[in-house]
């Protein structure tokens, strides 16, 4: 599968502070990628860099095999971006937004946009400020999809929606992925929901990528080991250690290897995996190197 998005050494600095640093990513075309991390981790910076809304202070971005200089028309034509809270011009009628979209974009599928708005039961004459939050989100998504992008970038697309509106939004999004092989990069805090929609994961904390890859292989590579706290293993595979008085839980990247004698291993869930990397980023576990993880 070819890469939709490749970043190399990507970084963005605000005065003396790096909001994002040394970001190397490679995302296959057709993937749905979840970007997770605490607030202020650099998620929005990364999304805006890819969308061309900010210029990198370091590194490069390639889209579908071609170097994409920030704000180059060729790069912008391939992607669509929906910002947090899916802003629409509140005083505009829905038909005005479609007109704007048609005028501003090189590619524009007016039929698709009109059909989507009709399917949503929204009158084109309605002012967008009068629509519900869920409808505004759907209109923003319809506008983004009408551009026929190859890469769709969504910043916290469902955070402000009620459960039914979230579900309907994701149904349209996933239906489009199934039908057209669109690549989607989205940020979110809701990991249970991400598990349904995403096949790739990028964990960002402290302005750096902590973990990136295919969700199924990441889950297969990591396990939770439980054993005596006296013999907590070290080594580069240890991600995070929760130490109790007599026993410890270790999140480790050991693949299918047998754990040390006396240790029990169980599969890890997506939320546990993300939390382990976020905790490690906050309080790095000093890794003793002389002990081995597996027998």
């Amino acid at each position: 599968m070819s890469a939709a998005l490749v970043t190399r050494g990507l970084g963005r600095r605000y005065r003396s502070t790096w909001a994002l640093q040394d970001c190397d990513l490679e995302v296959p075309a057709g993937a749905v990628i979840a970007l997770v991390g605490p607030n202020g981790a650099g998620k929005t910076t990364l999304l805006q860099l890819v969308a061309g809304l900010q210029r990198p202070s370091a590194g490069s971005i390639s889209l579908f095999g071609e170097l994409a200089p920030a704000q180059s028309p060729q790069a912008l034509a391939q992607l669509a971006f929906v910002a947090q809270d899916h802003p629409v011009y509140r005083r505009f009628r829905v038909s005005d937004l479609l007109h704007l979209g048609r005028s501003l974009n090189r590619t524009w599928d007016q039929d698709f946009a009109e059909r989507r708005i009709a399917e949503l039961g929204i009158s084109p004459r309605q002012r967008t400020g009068r629509l519900s939050g869920g409808q505004q989100a759907q209109v923003a998504l319809a506008l983004a999809l009408a551009k026929r992008p190859r890469l769709l970038i969504l910043d916290e697309p469902v955070a402000s929606l009620d459960p039914l509106a979230r579900r309907e939004f994701l149904q349209v999004l996933m239906g489009t992925v199934a039908g057209e092989g669109l690549t989607v990069l989205l940020s979110s805090h809701n990991i249970a929901e991400l598990e349904r929609v995403c096949d790739h994961l990028v964990v960002v904390a402290g302005g750096r990528v902590q973990l990136a890859g295919d969700v199924d292989s990441l889950l297969g590579d990591h396990r939770v080991l439980t054993g005596p706290s006296a013999g907590v293993p070290g080594g580069p595979g240890v991600v995070h250690v929760d130490q109790a008085d007599r026993h410890a839980h270790v999140v480790a990247r050991i693949g299918p290897a047998e754990p040390l004698p006396g240790w029990q291993a169980r599969p890890i869930g997506l939320e546990e995996l993300v939390l382990a990397y976020l905790r490690r980023a906050r309080e790095p576990w000093p890794v003793p190197s002389e002990m081995e993880l597996s027998a």
Binding site: Q171, M174, G175, A192, V197, L219, G269
Partner: protein, 131 residues
């Protein structure tokens, strides 16, 4: 049409949940030989899930010989399983097992102990049957 459900709190990976539901539906006769499973796009729109999850589940079911993909048409239930349990009886067996498992848990048996007990009793029953 067959309708999938997903429990995002169960901890079971979504594709496995789909696999289990098809297996179970075939077992109790909600799905019969020749029935069409939802198209990937239909399942995706029902559940708001990633299309790759559905294709992965269908691949596994195909691998198990339970379904037959016909390119361009859909995925069909390939064969009836050896035993089909009427839904009412299946539900009754399930309730009985639930009751038993709750009792076992209250008595302090963990998953491993339950598995071991099941294996032992099964073996004894088989031996009885053979005797």
């Amino acid at each position: 049409m067959f309708i999938f459900q997903l429990d995002s709190t169960s901890g079971v990976p979504p594709y496995l949940q789909l696999v289990h539901q098809v297996r179970q539906a075939v077992m109790v006769g909600y799905l019969r030989e020749g029935d069409r499973l939802p198209l990937i796009r239909e399942a995706v729109e029902q559940l708001a899930i990633n299309p790759n999850t559905v294709s992965k589940a269908y691949r596994q079911l195909e691998h198990e010989g339970l379904v037959d993909p016909r390119p361009g048409v859909g995925t069909f239930v390939a064969r009836a399983p050896d035993v089909t349990v009427p839904p009412a009886q299946y539900a009754k067996l399930r309730r009985g097992l639930e009751r038993w498992l709750r009792e076992a848990e209250a008595a302090g048996l963990d998953e491993e102990a339950v598995g071991a007990l099941l294996a032992v009793v099964r073996r004894e029953l088989t031996e009885e049957g053979a005797a």
